[in-house]
C-alpha cells in the first residue's frame, strides 16, 4: 500500500488528458490526415489504352497525365499505372470536375495544316502554350503558342509558301480554326483565337503544353464527389465517432470499474498513437480505411476485455491480486496474440492481392491491430501494475466490479 502507484497513475492521466486536449482542440491532428476522394470530394478517373501499349508508352502517358493534373491546379494528384494498360488518376479537391474528367484523357494532338491539308507542324514542336484573354477587337480567349527551333523554321517556311492562303489548326483531327496568313512569321509565335472562356483556354493550353498522348485513352470509370457532400458526411461521421467512443468509454467503466477506466486511458493512448502513425506515413484516409480503423478499435477494446475477464477469473479462484494479474495476463496474452496475428496475416494478404479500396482497409486494419497489441500488452499492463501498487486495489469492487 503505497502512494507511488497513485501518483504514477495521476501523472499519466494528466499527461493523456493534456495530449488529448492538445491534439483535438489546440492543434487538431485529424487536420493532418489526408483524405481520399470519397471523403474530401474530387475526381477519380480510370483511363484505359484503346490499343496495345508498351511499358515505355505507359510511363509517358503517366508523366503527361500528371503534368495535366498539376496544370488543372490540383495540389496532390495521385497518378498510377495499373494492369499494364490503365491509368488511375485521383484529383482531390478539384473545382471543375466535368471538364477535368473529359480533358484528362484527351489525346490533344495539335496539327497545323496547309490549304490542301499538307502537314506543317504538330504539337511536338511546341515549347509553350499560354492562355490569355483576347485583346481589343477579339472576343473570348486565345492561346499563345511558342514553337521550338525546328517548329519556328517550319512555320516560317509555311507562312511564306502559303502567304494570303488559309492555314488550318486541328485538334485530335477536328478543325478548330482556319485563318488566312497575313504575313511571314519568323519569330516562332502563333495564336489560336476564338476559344470560349478563359477557363476553357487554360485547360486546352495545359493539354497542349503537356504534349499529345502516345496512345488514345478511353474513360472506363469516372467518379466525381462534390466537396460539399464529402464535407457534410465527414462532419457527421466525426460527431458519430466521438459519440461512439464516449459510449465505449462509459460501457468499459460500467462493466469493469477502475480497470475499465484504465482501459479507456489505454484506448486514448492507442488512438493517438494510431493517428500519429497514419499522419507520419502520409496515409490517405478513405471510407474503407475508416472501416479498418473501426474494426481495429473493436479488437483493441476486445483485448482489454479479455485481459480483465481473465484477471477476474483468477481472482475468483482465490489468487492474490499480484498473482492474478500476472497469471491473467499470461493467459490472455496467448489468445490476443493468436487472434491478432491471424488478423494481421489477413490484412497483409488483402494488401498484396486487393485493389485500391481493399488496400486502404488492409493498411488501417493491420497497423491498427499491431498498435492495439502493443498498447494492450504494454500500456494496459503497466497501468494495472501501477494500480495494483496503489491503495485503490484494496477494494476489489472498485477495481474490477
Amino acid at each position: 500500500m503505497t502512494g507511488r502507484g497513485i501518483s504514477g497513475l495521476v501523472a499519466i492521466l494528466v499527461l493523456l488528458v493534456g495530449l488529448a486536449y492538445y491534439f483535438t482542440s489546440v492543434n487538431p491532428v485529424l487536420r493532418y490526415v489526408k483524405q481520399g476522394l470519397d471523403l474530401q470530394g474530387g475526381v477519380q478517373v480510370v483511363l484505359q489504352a484503346t490499343k496495345p501499349v508498351t511499358a515505355a508508352d505507359m510511363q509517358k502517358v503517366e508523366t503527361i497525365i500528371a503534368f495535366r493534373a498539376n496544370g488543372f491546379g490540383v495540389s496532390s494528384p495521385v497518378i498510377q499505372i495499373q494492369n499494364q494498360n490503365q491509368i488511375v488518376a485521383q484529383l482531390p479537391g478539384i473545382k471543375n470536375q466535368q471538364q477535368a474528367i473529359t480533358a484528362l484523357g484527351q489525346t490533344a494532338q495539335l496539327e497545323f495544316k496547309g490549304p490542301k491539308g499538307q502537314p506543317i507542324l504538330s504539337g511536338a514542336d511546341l515549347v509553350s502554350a499560354q492562355a490569355a484573354l483576347a485583346g481589343t477587337g477579339g472576343s473570348g480567349a486565345v492561346i499563345n503558342l511558342t514553337f521550338d527551333a525546328a517548329g519556328t523554321k517550319a512555320f516560317a517556311t509555311a507562312t511564306q509558301a502559303y502567304l494570303h492562303q488559309p492555314i488550318s489548326i486541328y485538334l485530335d483531327g477536328k478543325n478548330i480554326e482556319t485563318a488566312t496568313v497575313q504575313a511571314v512569321i519568323t519569330n516562332g509565335n502563333a495564336q489560336i483565337t476564338g476559344i470560349g472562356t478563359l477557363q476553357q483556354a487554360q485547360t486546352l493550353a495545359t493539354l497542349l503544353s503537356s504534349g499529345a498522348l502516345p496512345v488514345p485513352l478511353k474513360i472506363i470509370e469516372a467518379t466525381a464527389v462534390s466537396a460539399t457532400l464529402g464535407a457534410s458526411s465527414i462532419h457527421a461521421s466525426e460527431i458519430a465517432g466521438l459519440v461512439a467512443m464516449a459510449l465505449i468509454g462509459l460501457f468499459m467503466v460500467a462493466a469493469y470499474r477502475l480497470a475499465g477506466f484504465l482501459a479507456d486511458m489505454a484506448l486514448v493512448f492507442y488512438l493517438m498513437l494510431f493517428v500519429g502513425v497514419l499522419v507520419a506515413l502520409g496515409f490517405v484516409m478513405t471510407l474503407p480505411a475508416v472501416a479498418g480503423v473501426i474494426l481495429s478499435a473493436g479488437i483493441a477494446v476486445d483485448a482489454n476485455v479479455i485481459i480483465f475477464a481473465r484477471v477476474r477469473e483468477e481472482l475468483r479462484s482465490g489468487l492474490s491480486m499480484k498473482t492474478a494479474l500476472d497469471k491473467g495476463f499470461r493467459n490472455a496474452f496467448r489468445a490476443i496474440l493468436d487472434s491478432n496475428v491471424s488478423t494481421i496475416i489477413a490484412a497483409i494478404v488483402l494488401y498484396y492481392f486487393g485493389s485500391g479500396d481493399v488496400r486502404g482497409f488492409a493498411v488501417t486494419l493491420g497497423l491498427g491491430v499491431a498498435i492495439s497489441f502493443l498498447t494492450a500488452i504494454v500500456f494496459t499492463r503497466y497501468l494495472l501494475r501501477l494500480a495494483e501498487d496503489s491503495v485503490l486495489v484494496g477494494n476489489l469492487k472498485v477495481f474490477l466490479g
Binding site: D38, V46, Q97, I101, T102, I219, I220, E221, A222, T223, A224, V225, S226, L229, S233, I234, A236, S237, I239, A240, V243, A244, L247, I248, F251, M252, P288, V290, A291, G292, I294, L295, A297, G298, V301, D302, V305, I306, A309, E313, N331, R334, A335, D338, S339, N340, V341, S342, T343, I345, A346, A347, I348, V349, L350, F353, S355, D357, V358, L365
Partner: protein, 336 residues
Amino acid sequence: MRFNFDFMGRRRQFYILSAVILVVAVGGFFLRGLNLGIDFTGGIQMQVHFNKPVQLSAVDATLRKDGISNYFAVYLGKGDQNVQISMPAVSETLRAKVDQSLTKSVGPYTITSFTKVTGSFSSQVVQGGVIAVLLASLGIILYMMIRFDLRFAVAGIFAVFWDAFVSLGLVALIHFTVNAPFVAGVLTIIGYSINDRIIIFDRVRENLKKRGKESLAEIVNLSLNQTLGRSIATATVVVVAMLAILFLGGATTQDLAATVVIGVVFGAYSSILLASPIWFDWMSRVEAEAAATAVRVGRAPAPKRQALVADPEAEQAVRRRTPQNRGRGRKRRRRR
C-alpha cells in the same frame, strides 16, 4: 457473471437453427438479390440541383427523347429541386447532349455528385476482392494449423463463411443499396469473425491441456461459458459504437455500420453455436475412432492424441450421455 449453459447438449437444435438462418439468407440472396448500386452494376449516376422545383415527368421525357433507355430519376429530399438520375454508361458525347437538353427543356441545374462506372471495371473490383478474401482465408487456415490444428482451422473458417453468406443474404433481404464501401463492410465482418473464433478456440485449447480427464462436452461447455462474458461485452461494445455511427454518421458511413452490426451479431452467434459444435463433433469422432483402434489392438491410443483428447472412459461417458450419437458419423456426412 458466471454462466453454466449446456451448449453441446443442445447442439443439434443449434445446427438446425444455423441451417434455417442460412437457408433464409441464401434464399433472400437468390430470390430478392442484392440491391446493387452503381459501383457494381456500372452506369452513370448523378445528383443534380435545379434552380427551381421541377417535374420528374419533364426529366423523364427529356431523357427518353435523347434515346436513353433504362434511366431512373427520383427526387432527393424535399422541395422537388434535387433529382438523382441513374442511367447506363453512355458516351461522353451523348451525356453532354443530355446535359444540354435537360438545361433547355427542364431548367438550369448544377451537378452535386457525378459517378460513372463501366461494367467491366466493377466486376474486376469484385473479382479481385473475392480472390483476396479466399487467399486471406487460406493464410489464416495455415496459421491456425500451426498454432491449433486442422480441425480448429476448418471449423473456424467454415463458420467465417457462414457469417459472410448470412450477412450478404440479410443485406439482400433488407435491400439497402450496396456500393463499393459494402466490400469494406464484408471484410470487416470476416475480420471480426476470425478474431472472435480464435479467442474461444484458445480457451478450448487451454482447457484440453489443463483438464484432459474431463469429457470433451464438459471441456467445450466450460470454455464457452468462461468466454461468454467476454463475448457479450465485446459484441455489445461494437454494436453500440456502430449504432451511434448508423444514426449519427453521414450517409456514406451508414450502410457500412448497418452491415457491420449484422455481421457482429451473427459472428458472435456462430463462434459459440456453430464453430464450436462443428469442432466438437469432429473431435468426438476422431476420439471414438482412436478409442476403438486402441481396444482392437489392445493398447493405449497414440500419445499425440492422448495429449489432446480425453481418455477412453471419459469418452464412454460422453457416449452414454448422448445415446443419439450412435452412427453420428454417417449422419454428419449426410448433413454436410
